[in-house]
Amino acid sequence: MAVVDTGYTSRRHLWRRVRIVAGVVLCALFLFPVFWMVLSSFKMPKDIFTTPPVLFFEPTLETYRSYMSRADITRRMLNTVIVAFGSGALSIVAGTMAGYALARVRLRGAGTIGVLILMSRGVPPIALAVPMFLVARKLGLTDKHITLILAYCTFLIPYVMWLMRAFFQSLPRELEEAAMLDGCGRFGAFFKIIVPISIPGILSTLIFSVILAWEELLFALVLTNRNASTIPVAIAGIAGDTVNGANWGALTAVGTLTVVPVVIFALAVQKWLITGLSEGATKG
């Protein structure tokens, strides 16, 4: 019996090791394109356009230098920061309050509102982009940060409402009951008790919203052209530039500049992001 047993367990051990190795290999495979982009951004054109592709080369910051000095990239970077954080902040305030209302304040019609939020996530952005462009054009609001910030609220606020609703539902009810007994009104209880203890949840939702706004392309393409234009628009321009041929140096450098801050952000709050993601999926 003992012999059979060890055979069984050693087979299990082997299988376990195979699964671990598979996980690492698959993870590396999924990370490879990002690695390749970052690597290529430090290459001279002669190292980019070679066969076989080179892994070791003399790294240079030339591409970054030539692109960062071009005013529109720096300005677009700044615009992207303003718009992403502006829309993130606005949505987190409005969405957290509304999420709290849906979770805790008994409202007639809260169920209907919940279904409406879910449905709103299915609205194709192009159905909003066309009328927004026409209205912004009429009101003279094209190419302004505030226009883009408001446009991003269309998908960020429902998202924040949904995530924060789930978050508030998981908090013990006694908290605000105690606060109300202490003479805090509903607002007092929310801002003095609920918000402070919800900071981790609020922060991770905020970061996720900033990331979503950071990457947005369609509204930025439609509603801006120079002053408020963002980095994704620049990347779409570089990638789609068929006249000058493939400008891979610029693509990888600007791509790296776009991706690296977001990756740092995401890894910093990864624990919350992963929970938030699964919450958003299973309860959304």
Partner: protein
């Protein structure tokens, strides 16, 4: 709250209804900021799209001028490009969604082993999904280049030829599906991993005692328990995938020909390049209604599945 006297009671009832009213206001004021913003930037534009779709648009003032009834809809009914873009979107969805679901849950199941590096691997899987889709389209376009791309160099080493990823219509669609799958499978893996880790351990222990093999455990315990989450993940992926735009714009720009011209890109080009705003509003309405119907059906289906498992 003891009421002693009739007139006193009436007065109290009045103030109480006054308090009820202010209570109602304080309840709803939590919804107010979100409601105002969403009414202005979400509800109003949707209504405006409906209005434009029944009107003709004056390009000098960018306002809807004349009510034309179903004229725009008749127009797009005969628009081959529009129907092609619907078909292309359907093909993309029919490939991408099942592939991502199967790969995501399959990989999560395969690598669901407890070990030191597990949480690090899980964190690293976050990275592809926070790469901006437009960047994803760009890098993959570079890697898949037939002349200088590293993918074809690698395929050449294996003697697998030199496929023209972006030039061949069928392969271009495959390319879009590959890029989208690269970006979104990690999302499915993360959710599936969280779900697998939350499965009740005692059921599996009981099955072990009964001598069930892993195949039986997979099919009669794991998958049935996961069905609600599989369904919910599918709905989330569906809601994201119907918005497909950035990756196509950055990698194939709808080409070659119209082979990867998904409906969002087609409407975008019709509106902002050909300035056919009224027709594109009609197309947007068609897409909106179809998406809403399908989303509603998927949600109902999800509820059913949740109840029956």
């Amino acid at each position: 709250m003891a009421v002693t006297d009739h007139s006193e009671g009436a007065r109290q009832a009045r103030t109480r209804s006054g308090r009820d009213w202010s209570d109602l206001v304080s309840r709803w004021s939590f919804m107010l900021p979100a409601a105002i913003i969403l009414a202005a930037v979400l509800a109003y534009p949707i209504l405006y799209t409906f209005q434009i779709s029944f009107a003709s648009l004056d390009l000098a003032t960018f306002t809807a001028t004349e009510w034309v009834g179903f004229e725009n809809y008749r127009e797009i009914l005969g628009d081959r490009g529009f129907w092609n873009s619907m078909k292309v979107t359907g093909i993309y969805l029919a490939w991408a969604l099942p592939i991502q679901m199967i790969l995501g849950f399959g990989i999560a199941y395969l690598i669901n082993v407890e070990w030191k590096g597990r949480s690090a691997v899980r964190a690293l899987f976050l990275i592809p999904m926070v790469v901006a889709p437009v960047v994803a389209g760009g890098i993959w376009r570079m890697m898949l280049d037939p002349l200088w791309g590293m993918v074809n160099w690698f395929l050449g080493l294996l003697g697998l030829g030199n496929p023209d990823w972006l030039g061949d219509p069928n392969l271009a669609m495959a390319t879009i599906v590959i890029i989208d799958t690269w970006r979104w499978t990690p999302f499915v893996i993360l959710i599936a991993t969280a779900a697998l880790m939350a499965l009740p351990k005692d059921v599996f222990e009981a099955a072990d005692i009964d001598g069930a093999n892993w195949w039986t455990k997979l099919w009669s315990i794991t998958i049935p328990l996961l069905v609600p989450i599989i369904a919910a993940t599918f709905v989330v992926r569906w809601l994201g995938a119907v918005k497909m735009f950035d990756i196509v714009l950055a990698s194939t720009r709808g080409g070659p020909g119209d082979a990867t011209n998904v409906v969002n890109l087609y409407i975008y080009e019709q509106a902002f390049r050909s300035l056919r705003f009224a027709e594109s509003a009609a197309m947007a309405v068609v897409v909106l209604v179809l998406t809403m119907i399908l989303t509603g059906l998927f949600l109902i289906g999800t509820r059913r599945l949740e109840r029956s498992y």
